[in-house]
């Protein structure tokens, strides 16, 4: 059996099997994921693209143990998430998964450094200082560590969020449109950081994005439509991704990814 993304022999960092997620019932029933099989290999940077409402966020939430699946299984390493209770799931998220959201990543009452070490604080663990230094230097925020989120620009805030996601050395980092709210410069800073964390620090990153340029930073792109994986592309570039997106049904395209396409055009 050949699955999308199963390119190496080593066990993947995370995988999903026949993932199905249904919201609501009756008239309001929505099938957000429809039997998705997916592998995320270790040490790779995967981008997920697709029209708005195609199930990208839902896929991430299910893979990361933030939400339960209706059918199928999601694994982090060898652990089947559906077999875990809330407590175990919480510990798993804390110790093995990192998150970056589109917005509201940071607690406004804590400083940048306190936000970065928050998951360790929650666990009551001391951070690995060498690793922490390395993450902070890579993200380039050493002077800003004592600042509160409101004193940081949007790009800096997202970089702090990325640093926090990586500070605990998770098995895998999920980022849901981390650059969605940023201008292209700040977005590039964040993407640079995510890519270098994969290249030089051997991390595993899965990122949802609308933006073909952002997808160009990844090692691989998965295309999602109507809750199914419809295509994938290895070693993507912004141009190739844009081409591929244009091949989607134009009706979907206009409504959902027109913004992304035009943003790509500006670049």
């Amino acid at each position: 059996m050949t699955l999308p993304g199963s390119t190496s022999a080593a066990p993947p960092a995370a995988r999903g099997r026949s993932l199905t997620k249904v919201f609501g019932a009756g008239d309001t029933r929505v099938v957000a994921l429809d039997g998705v099989d997916v592998d995320f290999d270790r040490g790779r940077f995967t981008a997920i693209m697709g029209p708005s409402g195609s199930g990208k966020s839902t896929l991430m939430h299910c893979m990361a143990g933030l939400d339960s699946v209706t059918e199928g299984q999601a694994f982090i390493g060898d652990v089947d998430l559906s077999s875990l209770d809330d407590k175990a799931l919480t510990v798993l998220r804390r110790d093995r998964v990192g998150f970056v959201f589109q917005a509201f990543n940071l607690l406004p009452t804590l400083t940048a450094l306190e936000n970065i070490t928050l998951p360790m604080d929650i666990a009551g663990r001391k951070p690995d200082q060498a690793w922490l230094d390395r993450v902070i230097d890579t993200v380039g925020l050493r002077e800003r560590l004592a600042h509160r989120p409101t004193e940081l620009s949007g790009g800096q805030q997202q970089r702090v969020a990325c640093a926090r996601a990586l500070a605990g050395r998770p098995d895998i980092v999920f980022a849901d449109e981390p650059t969605g709210n940023l201008d292209s410069r700040s977005g590039a800073d964040v993407l640079d950081f995510l890519r270098s964390s994969v290249r030089t620090m051997d991390q595993t990153v899965v990122m949802v994005t609308h933006d073909p340029n952002a997808a160009g930073y990844a090692d691989r792109v998965l295309f999602l439509a109507d809750g199914r994986i419809v295509d994938e592309m290895a070693d993507p570039t912004a141009e190739r991704v844009l081409e591929r997106l244009k091949a989607f049904d134009p009706a979907d395209d206009r409504s959902a990814d027109g913004g992304a396409a035009s943003r790509a055009g500006v670049r």
Partner: protein, 847 residues
């Protein structure tokens, strides 16, 4: 993790401070009460210990009379003079002397007015010659040795301005005494006896005026060097036999101050009830505040959950905040409680009960303060904390914070059941025959109804706001419409906010109904049962000399004067307050409605009782009653009549002759004056006034004045209760401020949008204000309805206690409603200003 708790606390300090105020008030009342009680018993302990002789001998009372010296007993017990010689023979006795002390001696100032002791008794004593046994110390002049010589305490001398050598007048249980002031003295170390005025006579005069020749009220014994007072007491006790009580100084002090504390127990209960109310109302506000903080921080908490904080950690972080609020609130409350205790001391000082020592802050008090404050806060924050823990982590990722509105079905069910049970208990209590059971049933029913109404109030809020709130858009257009919608939007919050006000107003209006009913009952009772044209009495029921009755009786146009006295005895083994009257004159001055028998037998060995007492004790006309008097004599009376409950005369009535035989003191409490036929009150009033001018301790009242005086007492009590309840309304107002401030913050974006599309600042302020008014009126309406129910039910259940009439003070209720609206307007000031100050763009940009 604690860091996030701490930071969040700092970020919301104002809000938490507001909710903490409820804790502060509650703890302050608890602590104030405890400090005051401790101070009271310490002061009295020290005072009594320092002033008593080593060993004291008094007549053994047949039963516990409650507090001696409060003037409620009216029964005296004497010690014969020959006992002194017997005690002098006991081995180890160095000194022994009898003494006399009694109430009813009032010093008149230069204007002929009674020296104001603020309700403390006026006490007369014999001047003890044996200094080592005497609690008094001569300060100025010399000892009184003749009937026309007199001494007073230094405090009284200071207040009246009298000096040694002046001629002064005192009222005594016997005649008015005019005498030369030959000396001043102080009592104990501080100078006074808890605010009472003291007058000393030489022994012979004192016995003549206060007891009887050869009769003491007590004997003081001094121990020889090296003799243990306890041992000496045992020896003296063996010598005098079981008819006498022998106590050491410390035993005496302890039992006296225990008596005092017991007498003042009602103050403790009173204060603790208000502490309870403050804390109960506070619970709602804390719950509300924390619920809103949790709602406001949905994303933050969800983010924590997404990052791996366990449910326990999230709920502990919320409870941690509550813990800090509780500790800080309790600490401030402790300080405020100290202030309350100081205030109480000052208040009591103005009533004549002077406490000279410093306030006592015991370790237990501190412990209780913190325990109560912290516990209440944690319990109140528990529900929001649990809700926070259940926050799904995905909520962190949602763009729009949707606070999920849970169904109200379970609440409706629980509320309906509670309300039904409460109503049933209320009705049951109203119909109950036994006043005591009835009142407690009503109390339980009221509690269940309040809880039920609290549970139901979100359900009721919608129809109320839809119907009554519909006025808003009609009067204020769009602004009104927005205000209405905002109030309806979160019925739970609206209801929780209104609940605090509801409870406060329910209590206030319940007391108003009871007060109005009591007053109406008094009107009816006095109009219907007092036949006497005039009543003579002292302001606070202090006893006065029988001379007054005699002189009033001599006035032309007065047909008869009926004195009324108080006493105490054990009837069939139960200590009972007695009223004594002149049987022949009873019918002419007080009209009783007879259920069975008549007043006829009263002249002999009869006793008449009111119906509730007869039912309670199982007495019927003709039944024998075993009486044990205070000086341990047994006697048999016969129930000769049963009358309908009548507050003027009391529940158990004997004749003056019977009272005198049972050791009653010859001092009157009331005189009922009956005029000759055809003589008008205006005709005799001048002469009566003239006669009574010599006795400034008493006042002359006609029927209307007597009614007003009795009602005045009810009104005063009501005023005191309401003043305390205002506090709970105040706490409720704080709750409204809190809710509004939160909802303004929550709606920052929305407000920005409204401003962007052209809503003016003034309109915005009005919108917030209207929302507040609507919420407070909702709470007030619920409270008034409940309170009226409680008041009516309680009044009905107390019908056999004399509250025969039912009156609902409607105008007062309307005032309460208006006050609630004003509270709403005031509560909205801060939040409205804050909303209006938001800059349009900032507000929209804020996430």
């Amino acid at each position: 993790m604690w860091r996030t708790t701490w930071r969040s606390l700092l970020a919301h300090k104002l809000r938490l401070a507001l909710s903490g105020l409820a804790i502060v008030l509650g703890v302050a009342f608890v602590v104030g009460t405890l400090i005051f009680t401790d101070t009271l018993s310490k002061t009295f302990n020290e005072l009594f210990e320092s002033t008593a002789a080593d060993v004291n001998v008094t007549r053994a009372a047949a039963f516990d009379q409650g507090l001696e010296g409060t003037g409620t007993g009216g029964t005296a017990t004497y010690v014969p003079a020959d006992l002194v010689d017997e005690i002098a023979d006991v081995e180890g006795v160095a000194a022994v002397e009898g003494s006399v002390q009694a109430e009813g001696v009032y010093i008149l100032d230069a204007d002929g007015e009674v020296l104001d002791t603020g309700g403390a008794p006026g006490i007369g004593v014999s001047w003890d010659t044996e200094e080592s046994l005497s609690p008094t110390t001569l300060v100025d002049g010399r000892a009184a040795t003749a009937p026309d010589e007199i001494m007073i305490d230094t405090n009284s001398a200071e207040e009246t301005g009298y000096r040694v050598g002046d001629t002064i007048t005192v009222l005594t249980p016997g005649p008015r005494v005019e005498a030369e002031l030959v000396g001043t003295f102080r009592f104990g170390d501080e100078g006074g006896l808890a605010g009472a005025s003291l007058t000393a006579f030489d022994m012979t005069t004192a016995q003549e005026l206060l007891t009887a020749p050869g009769q003491f009220t007590g004997i003081g014994v001094g121990a020889a060097d090296g003799v243990d007072p306890g041992e000496l007491a045992d020896r003296v006790a063996a010598a005098v036999g079981p008819d006498y009580d022998v106590k050491t100084a410390s035993e005496q002090a302890e039992s006296l101050s225990a008596d005092f504390s017991e007498a003042l127990q009602f103050i403790n209960i009173f204060l603790l009830v208000f502490a309870g109310i403050a804390l109960f109302v506070g619970t709602f506000i804390i719950l509300n505040t924390f619920s809103m903080l949790v709602a406001q921080r949905t994303r933050e908490l969800a983010l924590l959950r997404a990052l791996g904080a366990s449910r326990g950690q999230v709920s502990r972080s919320v409870l941690g905040e509550a813990l800090v609020v509780g500790i800080v609130g309790s600490t401030v409350g402790l300080a405020a409680g100290y202030g309350i205790a100081a205030g109480l001391r000052a208040l009591f000082g103005s009533f004549g009960l002077t406490l000279d020592g410093s306030l006592v802050l015991a370790g237990d008090t501190v412990l209780w303060g913190y325990a109560v404050g912290v516990l209440v806060t944690l319990v109140s924050a528990y529900v929001p904390a649990r809700r926070a823990a259940r926050m799904p982590p995905v909520a962190a990722m949602r763009d729009d914070v949707v606070t999920v509105q849970r169904g109200l079905r379970r609440r409706t069910a629980v509320g309906a059941v509670l309300a039904a049970v409460g109503l049933a208990a209320l009705v049951g209590g109203t119909l109950s025959d036994d006043g005591g059971t009835g009142a407690s049933l009503v109390g339980l029913g009221a509690l269940a109804l309040i809880l039920g109404a609290t549970a139901l109030s979100p359900v009721l809020a919608r129809p109320f706001l839809r119907s009554v709130g519909a006025l808003l858009p009609r009067v204020w257009g769009t602004t009104g419409r927005l205000a209405q919608e905002n109030a309806v939007r979160n019925p739970r919050r609206t209801a929780a906010t209104a609940s605090a006000l509801m409870i406060g107003l329910a209590l206030v209006s319940a007391f108003s109904v009871i007060g109005a009913s009591t007053n109406a009952s008094i009107d009816k009772l006095i109009a219907g049962s007092v036949r006497a044209e005039f009543v003579v009495s002292s302001a606070v029921g202090l006893p006065f000399s029988p001379d007054v009755a005699e002189q009033v009786g001599d006035v032309d146009g007065v047909a008869s004067v009926m004195p009324l006295r108080w006493g105490q005895a054990q009837l069939d083994g139960q200590t009972t307050f007695l009223t004594a009257v002149e049987p022949d004159r009873l019918a002419r001055t007080i009209e009783l409605t007879w259920v069975d028998g008549s007043a006829e037998g009263l002249g002999g060995d009869g006793v008449i009782v009111d119906q509730p007492t007869a039912e309670g004790r199982g007495w019927a006309v003709g039944d024998p009653v075993e009486v044990l008097t205070l000086d341990n004599r047994e006697q048999q009376l016969t129930v000769s009549g049963i009358f309908e409950s009548n507050q003027v005369i009391g529940s158990t009535v004997i004749s003056l002759g019977t009272l005198a035989g049972a050791g009653g003191v010859d001092q009157d409490r009331f005189l009922f004056v009956d005029l000759d036929d055809g003589v008008s009150t205006a005709d005799v009033r001048p002469q009566l006034d003239e006669v009574l001018a010599a006795y400034p301790i008493v006042d002359l009242k006609d029927q209307t004045e007597f009614q007003d005086e009795q009602k005045g007492q009810v009104d005063q009590l009501l005023l005191l209760i309401n003043a305390m309840l205002v506090l709970s309304v105040l706490i409720a107002a704080l709750g409204i401020v809190n809710t509004l401030a939160m909802s303004v913050i929550e709606r920052t974006r929305e407000i920005g949008l409204l401003r962007a599309v052209g809503l003016g600042r003034a309109q915005l302020r009005r919108m917030v204000r209207l929302e507040a008014v609507v919420i407070s009126i909702y709470g007030a309406v619920l409270g008034l309805v409940l309170g009226t129910l409680f008041g009516v039910a309680l009044s009905r259940s107390l019908a056999d206690q004399g509250i025969t009439e039912l009156a609902v003070p409607v105008p007062r209720m309307v005032v309460f409603l208006l006050v609630a609206a004003v509270i709403g307007v005031l509560a909205a000031v801060g939040p409205a200003r804050r909303a209006a100050r938001l800059k349009v763009l900032d507000a929209i940009a804020q996430t």
